[in-house]
């Protein structure tokens, strides 16, 4: 019966994807996804050669880099999975809990059913990974099998760690899991930092030192197996030998889960429901990392009762504090540490790569975390529409919280980087600071504008969600183009001033800054118009 359920769910998933393709939008997003995957395949298939390497040696060098970094990456992925999981076990959806738990199935059958479900998802993801990384593969079959077994391993490993912690916590009556994993993570980072500081020549050398130490060898040994599968050069003995070992590791972990399951049965149900609630919230509000406060909390009165903009902004700042306070704190801490890290530790990485990384964080990662505007208020649009406030006031109020928090994080990052810089680089960094607030206002205006036209939270629904993948890519491309256009306009106006004032950089900065602010102000009526045309009855 469970096999039949698996088949029916697979059929339902395929039906859902095909139904998406029947709409013009779904078809468009699929085309974009396929085009981007093809481009990425072409890009990764090209002999991208590390600096100093000959073209012919490039794939070998890339494989070498993969072999070096992948075990540590897998360890980090496992630790992150344990840290971010809401509970200790394999997760079941509420419908599975309601229908299957009360049905005449053994617990072992249910666990195996769930494992098959995970395995199918892992297989789809592995196919995508294999398609996207042709340059580093020796044999596509090995890459597919390696990716598949690795993804399964991450899932099983984190489940076992969670269950063991649960068992230990029950016997010694102390909170384990997250605190201890966090402690382990901190110890690892400290150890890595120690090796890096000892090497004195950057991140790579420090990591190589750590990897060849006894601690590094012991810690990374289980993960090395999966790297060997991924990079196997022959069917026999390489692939077969390592794959058998990988399968044995996963089978042992699965056996461990079945054995440990009875100790974490109740916690598993609670964790499953918590996970489900988080997904429902994420789909509703777009807040992937947000938590929801419950019960009595400390109240904050609005500092000034300003009708309109103030009320909306105050409410969003409270939401940010209560739902994502921890995430914002993590970002603030990372921003403080990030500056020196980018300047010193990553000294062996090109300046453009570092700028690209910061740009990606600023325009993709932060906006996905700081969702305190229209994007998280889809269900409350009716309430906003009924308020006696002009649309521009509502729109301006919605931009305050994300722009303010985003600017604070970026200012801290730039500030900490500035402390480690000198000469012209320091001057440029200082000169960029005043632009951060108008830049973020522009960024979040565009985020909200796009959202008001296509009001669906950017959260995937299951694996291989073409709609989500396509939308993410289109969203990113459109946003980046508009941002670049806006910033280019402002910079162009600044260049004119530079020309007119006989190369006065102060005039350049003032004119560019004013132009950026004017662009933001010009966007506000457009945003208000988009808000006005938003029809709640069609949602």
């Amino acid at each position: 019966m469970l096999v039949k359920l698996l088949w029916l769910r697979f059929r339902g998933g395929v039906r859902h994807r095909f139904r998406e393709l029947k709409t013009l939008r779904g078809l468009l997003f699929l085309c974009v996804t396929v085009a981007v995957i093809a481009l990425l395949m072409k890009q990764t298939a090209l002999p991208v050669h590390p600096p100093g390497a000959a073209l012919a040696e490039a794939p070998e060098l890339l494989r070498g880099q993969l072999a070096r970094w992948m075990p540590a990456g897998l360890l980090a992925a496992c630790l992150l999975t344990v840290l971010t999981a809401p509970g200790p076990a394999i997760h079941f959806s509420p419908s599975e809990i309601n229908l299957l738990f009360s049905a005449p199935f053994s617990r072992r059958a249910l666990l195996l059913y769930k494992m098959c479900f995970y395995a199918f998802g892992a297989l789809l993801s592995s196919l995508l990974i294999t398609l996207l990384l042709p340059a580093v593969q020796v044999m596509p079959l090995a890459a597919l099998l390696g990716a598949f077994l690795t993804l399964l391993f991450i899932q099983l490993f984190s489940a076992v760690i969670g269950m063991v912690s649960q068992r230990l916590a029950a016997s010694v009556a102390m909170p384990l899991r997250r605190g201890h994993i966090l402690l382990l993570l901190v110890a690892l980072i400290a150890m890595l930092a120690w090796y890096i500081s000892g090497a004195g020549t950057g991140l790579t050398d420090g990591f190589i030192r750590f990897q060849s130490s006894l601690t590094g060898i012991l810690l990374l040994a289980p993960f090395e197996v999966f790297v060997h599968i991924f990079l196997a050069s022959s069917m026999y003995p390489d692939l077969l030998r390592w794959a058998m070992l990988g399968v044995a590791i996963n089978a042992a972990l699965l056996a461990g889960i079945i054995l440990l399951d009875r100790y974490s049965y109740e916690a598993s149900i609670a964790a499953s429901l918590a996970l489900h609630r988080r997904w429902v919230r994420a789909r509703r509000s777009g807040l992937l990392w947000g938590t929801q406060p419950a019960g009595r909390v400390r109240s904050f009165r609005p500092p000034l009762v300003i009708p309109g903009v103030g009320a909306i902004a105050w409410r969003q700042l409270l939401t940010a504090l209560r739902t994502s306070g921890k995430a914002v704190l993590v970002f603030l801490a990372l921003a403080v540490l990030g500056g020196p890290l980018l300047v010193f530790v990553a000294a062996d990485i090109s300046v453009w790569s570092r700028i690209g990384f910061v740009f990606f964080v600023a325009i993709y990662l932060l906006p996905r975390t700081l969702v305190f505007d229209f994007r998280s208020d889809l269900e409350c649009m009716e309430t906003f529409k009924a308020l006696p406030l002009r649309p521009w006031k509502i729109c301006a109020g919605q931009l305050v919280a994300p722009a303010l928090l985003g600017s604070l994080i970026e200012l801290l990052l730039l500030g900490s980087a500035t402390m480690c810089l000198d000469g012209a680089a320091r001057l440029i960094a200082l000169g960029l600071m005043p632009f951060i607030v108008p830049f973020n206002l522009l960024l979040y205006s565009l985020e909200n504008l796009i959202f008001l036209f296509f009001p669906t939270p950017l959260v995937p629904v299951g694996r291989v969600d073409f709609d989500f993948l396509g939308r993410t890519m289109v969203d990113f491309a459109v946003k980046t183009s508009l941002l670049v256009a806006g910033c280019s306009l402002a910079a162009g106006a600044g260049m004119l001033a530079l020309d007119v004032t006989n190369r006065s950089w102060t005039a350049f900065a003032i004119v560019a800054w004013c132009s950026l602010v004017l662009i933001v102000l010009a966007l506000l009526p457009v945003l208000s118009w988009a808000y006005n045309r938003f029809d709640v009855s069609r949602q």
Binding site: Q292, P293, G295
Partner: protein, 253 residues
């Protein structure tokens, strides 16, 4: 009832369509201060659309709609300032406390010295103990009561209720019914959209039956019941409803 008074809600020849679907067609009615209009009709009759358009949430297709003398299209802010709307499924801000909701509404509607009024509303709706609780953990009934308290805070002249009693306990139902009567006595014009025909019959002074987006019957409750009384004695609103909409009611034998 105050027939001579200037209507607080006026709807004239209102039509709303979604693509090819006509949700409401050439609807006209008015509600004077102190009147409570019961808006009834089968699912999909156009009740919620009418209330949403009146509250300025969605634009009308055509027709003239005004609230307290302000045209809802030409002067929406002034109209909304005098209006309170409680949707059928009130969406509250999950991370705000009960009291912060009232503070937010006070700020949005520019209500000065709202503290005592807000405190009294919490007391009336038995929410005082939840003042500093986030609404996420509140029951459906409590959320409904909070939504009504928010709608009452700025003393609106027009109040629109869409299924107001969903999820409420008996004490809550009694409190809200009493509050509606009280607001009407104070001169507010009220519309209640509901499927609970018993509630509409006992509470409303006027009746509007919508079916397939069109008004099938509009008038004083007594008059409507009396009209149908000619055919059958002790007519209830339920009889009237099934008679007008030709919907299939239970066999009465």
């Amino acid at each position: 009832m105050n027939n001579s008074a200037r209507p607080m809600i006026s709807v004239n020849n209102f039509t709303k369509t979604y693509n090819d679907f006509v949700a409401v067609k050439k609807l006209s009615f008015c509600v004077a201060p102190g009147e409570i209009l019961g808006l009834v009709g089968p699912n999909g009759a156009g009740k919620t659309t009418t209330l949403r358009v009146l509250s300025g949430i969605i634009p009308p297709g055509s027709g003239e709609l005004s609230v307290a003398g302000h045209d809802i299209v030409a002067d929406p802010i002034a109209a909304k300032q005098l209006l309170g709307y409680i949707p059928d499924d009130p969406r509250l801000f999950d991370s705000l406390t009960v009291w912060e909701h009232l503070e937010f509404i006070a700020a949005a509607y520019a209500v000065a010295d709202y503290q005592s009024a807000a405190g009294a509303l919490l007391q009336f709706f038995n929410l005082e103990g939840k003042r500093h609780h986030v609404v996420q953990g509140l029951s459906r009934g409590m959320r409904q009561k909070l939504a009504i308290a928010c709608a009452y805070l700025h003393e609106p002249k027009v109040i629109l209720f869409d299924e107001p009693l969903t999820g409420l306990d008996p004490a809550g139902i009694r409190a809200i019914k009493e509050s509606m009567r009280e607001r009407a006595r104070q001169g507010a014009a009220i519309i209640i959209s509901s499927h609970l025909l018993g509630l509409v019959e006992t509470l409303c002074t006027h009746l509007l039956v919508l079916d397939h987006g069109q008004a099938r019957c509009f008038g004083r409750m007594d008059d409507v019941l009396r009209t149908f009384d000619q055919a059958k004695r002790d007519t209830t609103l339920e009889d009237v409803f099934f008679s007008i909409t030709h919907a299939e009611g239970p066999e009465t034998g």
